[in-house]
């Protein structure tokens, strides 16, 4: 009775262990599941399973007005709602040919870059958690994120579910003193990043855990549709803020950090460096922030209709290319509404990255992809 092996497969030659990681697992970043086949602790097969959070956002959006989808976009990638807002507003503006006033463009850039800061900071905490550090990095990251969320609350009324962008601008103007408070945070962020770098980057355990883990050739990454920091860590110079400029990014001076190998360590470092570039953009945007309308005076709120046509519009979200594909048949609701979520497409190559590595590496690779299940499952 005692000799019964609990988990090994029947025959001798096929002694593989099938483990279902998730949907309730400490580090699958939500309700995400990986069907892993292990040989010892080496991954032989890995199939991601998701859809636990599927609510058919696209179907809902096709049934309601254009404006009513805006709060739903907050809930896609709930770590960075303002980027989602912008992506959607931009798509509708391109679909309907709506102008955006200068000040609103600046506000959008500021908010999007703050969101990028939030996302990458939280990412650092999450990946350290995945590596088994006992939450310290996560708490430091969340301490700083908190300060930016306070700003969001003052501006939009909500810490995360902002619902702030409108077709033709933003919902309301900056409160008095808001821009100054952003500059305080921007100034404080450098020292915080220094501290985090000291905490993480030289750490031998982190280095040995993340270097040469999960790397793929850049051609394969590109072919797999990987975008965002993941792709740039492998050395592909493709940042939509430069490659396919939207908003007013052409006015700012910033650089795109590029990695070499594209392993988990590069992915961490690229995000560090990107945050520093974001701080640069924020400084410039705050200095140049003009007075004026925060929303186009002729922007329509109620009964908004877009002319017949279609558009695919994308922005450089913190996690990658966030696209919206809209088809209008002239009614008040879109005929087809499609979100191209970066998290979802970036998962395509998860198995390829993990094969032959340890179970412990799988967790880090998944963490380095930086998924949010609200976006993967929609």
């Amino acid at each position: 009775m005692i000799c019964r092996a609990p988990t090994l497969e029947g025959s001798d030659e096929d002694q593989l262990l099938r483990v279902s990681l998730g949907p309730q697992h400490p580090s699958t970043h939500g309700v995400f599941r990986m069907n892993v086949v292990l040989d010892g602790e080496t991954v032989v097969r890995l199939k991601p399973v998701f859809g636990y959070l599927h609510r058919n956002h696209e179907k809902i959006a096709e049934g309601t007005s254009y404006l009513a989808s805006m709060p739903y976009t907050d809930r896609l990638d709930y770590i960075c709602p303002l980027s989602n807002n912008w992506a959607y507003a931009l798509a509708v503006e391109r679909l309907a040919g709506v102008e955006v006033p200068e000040r609103a463009e600046y506000m959008r850039v500021i908010l999007a870059e703050l969101t990028r800061l939030i996302n990458h900071t939280a990412f650092l905490g999450f990946i350290l958690g995945d590596m088994g550090a006992w939450g310290s990095a996560l708490m430091y990251a969340f301490r700083e994120r908190e300060k930016i969320l306070d700003l969001f609350e003052d501006l939009t009324g909500a810490r995360m579910m902002a619902n702030f962008m409108r077709f033709g601008g933003c919902r309301n103007d900056l409160p008095t003193g808001w821009a100054e408070r952003v500059s305080v945070i921007v100034n404080d962020y450098g020292p915080f990043l220094d501290e985090m770098e000291k905490f993480l980057v030289g750490n031998e355990i982190l280095l040995s855990r993340s270097q040469d883990v999960g790397q793929l050739p850049k051609e394969q990454l590109l072919n797999g549709g990987i975008t965002g920091p993941m792709l740039r860590a492998a050395g592909v110079n493709y940042d939509l803020r430069k490659a396919d400029p939207y908003g007013i990014y052409e006015r700012f001076e910033f650089r795109i950090p590029l990695g070499e190998k594209g392993d988990c360590y590069d992915r961490i470092m690229i995000r560090f460096l990107e945050m520093r570039e974001s701080l640069k953009i924020l400084r410039q945007a705050l200095a140049q922030l003009p007075e004026g309308d925060y929303i186009h005076p002729k922007a329509k709120l109620r009964n908004f209709k877009a002319p017949v046509g279609e558009v695919y519009s994308r922005i450089e979200g913190p996690k990658g290319e966030l696209g919206f594909y809209l088809i209008s048949d002239g009614a008040t609701n879109p005929y087809r509404y499609r979100v191209r979520p970066p998290s979802f497409v970036n998962l395509t190559l998860l198995e390829d990255m993990c094969l032959g590595l340890d179970l412990a590496d799988v967790i880090i690779i998944l963490g380095s992809i930086d998924i949010v299940l609200g976006e993967v499952d929609r």
């Binding site: 859809g51 696209e58 040919g97 549709g225 990987i226 592909v236 279609e310 594909y325 190559l349």
Partner: protein
């Protein structure tokens, strides 16, 4: 920078003489015109675009349900005389290609099934662009397009036992919601059918 579909149309017609390709004009302000490619030539066309036109990133793949074919031609009308307007509703798959090196895009490709019920096959692009893998599974799941040649065509967002395709326009939502006394809405009416006497 939008791709120039007209010149690419010429190149494609030259490279793939047997395949029927037509240009679809986008009447909206975005002016993203698209190329409608016959299903049989889709894989060759995309391989040509990847290898010879540097369209190395297939960013977005999505399905559209057109139960009313005239509506499809309203959104993407054609100037090509030879294009035949379909008589029955159909499913359409739209591909957005980008070039990271030349930095152009999107190049919009469309591909249509014969109808919405019987012949819903479209060749899979996974062999050319790996990024299509999950997105095609999603279209299969939500729209019911069958991608021939897909290595692992399973449902992805809905569960495996599910039968319908929720993103189709004629999809009827189920009525077995958990009962909740919502005072308004059709939800309550639907729930009443399922739960005749809620306590």
């Amino acid at each position: 920078m939008n791709a120039d579909p007209e010149s690419i149309l010429g190149l494609l017609r030259g490279a793939l003489p047997g395949v029927h390709i037509s240009l679809r004009k986008n009447p909206g302000p975005s002016a993203q015109h698209s190329l409608l490619i016959e299903a049989s030539g889709l894989v060759e066309a995309s391989r040509f675009l990847r290898d010879h036109q540097e369209f190395d990133l297939l960013s977005n793949v999505t399905g559209i349900d057109w139960p009313d074919p005239t509506k499809a031609d309203k959104v993407a009308p054609t100037e090509d005389e030879g294009a035949i307007a379909p008589e029955v509703g159909f499913l359409e798959v739209v591909y957005h290609l980008f070039s990271t090196t030349r930095r152009v895009g999107p190049l919009v490709l469309r591909c249509r099934t014969k109808d919405r019920r019987e012949d819903v096959r479209i060749p899979s692009l996974v062999s050319v662009y790996r990024s299509a893998e999950f997105q095609e599974r999603e279209i299969y799941d939500l729209f019911g397009v069958t991608f021939t040649g897909h290595p692992d065509l399973r449902r992805i967002l809905m569960w495996d036992e599910y039968v319908d395709h929720p993103m189709r326009k004629d999809y009827v939502a189920p009525d077995d919601y958990e009962y909740e006394p919502t005072p308004h809405d059709a939800v309550l009416e639907k729930a009443k059918v399922h739960y005749p006497a809620p306590s």
